[in-house]
């Protein structure tokens, strides 16, 4: 009958990210955690072998999760499932695509496999990538990313880097406004992206794809802070299952992202959550994940 359907278009890739807006994407390492996350109102889960805090603590090379684990998580929930591939590791990404995960995070949390990123346009599965500034964000979009997130500093429970990255991106977009086409072209050359991408960003006054906060978000207040800074939604990695009461924390962060502009509601949901994950000072880190993949 109506056999005119097309799949894997950029609109469909970007579109799924649009549907995740105003939501929380949670790291999970097994089916039980995935179910807790879904029940708490997560819009998606990230299937992982180890959460970033454990990757940091245990060290060693961090790779794509075992397909068996990813499948187990995909079977446990109805929300979209994301999984991480190493930066530049297009073979891992092809495996994840074959598993039919809904989104791939080409992530600095795993040990990079290349200085170059994956050429993402040739995939049918959409990609999300981290960025610290506008240049990184637009370069990832140029390569085919359909969603951006701040890099922050994963596994630290310390929100300062995510705040820094979000502010920097906002400021750099603000600075594009009112520039002549000659100046915009200069910016495009500096950032090593097309004029068209820079012009579109300047005209929209925001990134041309959805932009989430990630890397260090540990409490409902952290999530609300990132939303107030203009993020479209929030990734929470170690912050949920490294807290004292994951179920409560997950629900509270979900609500905080929806009602980020209502301090009374935020006060209520922040009450009696038990201990948040233990945090680390950025100065004390031996590995800064955010410096991977520029």
């Amino acid at each position: 009958m109506d056999d005119n359907a097309v799949k894997g278009t950029y609109r469909l890739k970007k579109g799924l990210a649009e549907m995740l807006k105003g939501g929380v994407i949670m790291d999970v390492v097994n089916a039980a955690q995935a179910k807790i996350a879904e029940k708490a109102g997560a819009v998606s889960v990230m299937a992982l072998e180890r959460v970033p805090a454990d990757i940091r603590a245990q060290g060693g090379v961090a790779r794509m999760a075992d397909p068996k684990k990813i499948k187990e998580i995909m079977n446990a929930v109805s929300v979209p499932v994301m999984a991480k591939a190493r930066i530049g590791h297009f073979a891992e990404a092809r495996i994840l695509e074959a598993l039919e995960v809904d989104y791939i995070d080409e992530s600095e949390v795993l040990t990079p496999a290349d200085e170059r990123h994956i050429e993402k346009h040739s995939f049918n599965v959409p990609f999300v990538c981290g960025a610290r500034d506008l240049g990184e964000a637009l370069r990832r979009i140029k390569e085919g990313a359909a969603m951006i997130r701040t890099k922050g500093e994963a596994g630290t429970g310390n929100v300062i880097e995510a705040v820094r990255h979000m502010r920097r991106i906002n400021e750099e977009i603000e600075a594009l406004k009112g520039l002549s086409s000659r100046k915009l072209n200069q910016k495009a050359v500096e950032m090593r992206v097309s004029y068209k991408l820079v012009e579109e960003t300047a005209r929209l006054g925001r990134l041309p794809v959805v932009n989430f906060a990630a890397g260090g978000i540990a409490t409902p207040a952290d999530a609300a802070l990132m939303m107030q800074l203009g993020c479209d939604g929030v990734f929470v990695g170690s912050g949920i299952f490294k807290s004292k009461n994951p179920e409560k924390m997950a629900k509270a962060i979900v609500e905080a992202v929806t009602h980020y502009n209502e301090p009374e509601i935020l006060a209520k949901i922040s009450e009696g959550l038990g201990e948040a994950m233990e945090g680390i000072e950025i100065e004390k880190l031996s590995v800064k994940m955010q410096e991977r993949g520029k």
């Binding site: 799949k7 469909l12 819009v43």
Partner: protein
Amino acid sequence: MKIGVLALQGDFREHIRVLEDLGVEAAEVRLPHELDELKGLIIPGGESTAIGMLMQKYGMDRAIKEKFEKGMKIWGTCAGAILIAKEISGEKKDFSLGLMDISVRRNGYGRQLQSFEANLNVKCIGGFKGVFIRAPKIVKCGDNCDVLAEYQGSPVMVHEQNLLATTFHPELTKDAGIHQYFIDMVKDEISIEIS
């Protein structure tokens, strides 16, 4: 005339933009009191489990049902269509508003890799680009439903009295035809044909 867009989660901003482009006053709605002056409400695409949970939290589900009984028109797109359906095929409908006489199957066409764009023919509107993202499938419609568009033999756009459901995303296209249809519905300028 004011139309609200349920802004608990999902792509509510895109709906607001289209409504405003059409010259309609539009508002983001998160809490029950924000429903007060609304003549119409759009429930956007997003994750139905998340929106459903957030709806129950502050009594939005009850408030929406009350306003609906007093004549407020509701249009659900994608997740929104799931939330207004009376039946969710093969599942308990613990987070649904249960208003429209349709049965839907969540992720009815499969996961993201099966998401697709297709050219639809919409009754009263004509050709329309259907953007289906992890879309639900409408597997059954009641007798009072007017099927306005189909894809591969399944309804994808259905009108029943004060309710409209689309399993695709008109807000992700540049075509405002279906938003205009809903606005006309809210103004009571459209009635349905039941065959």
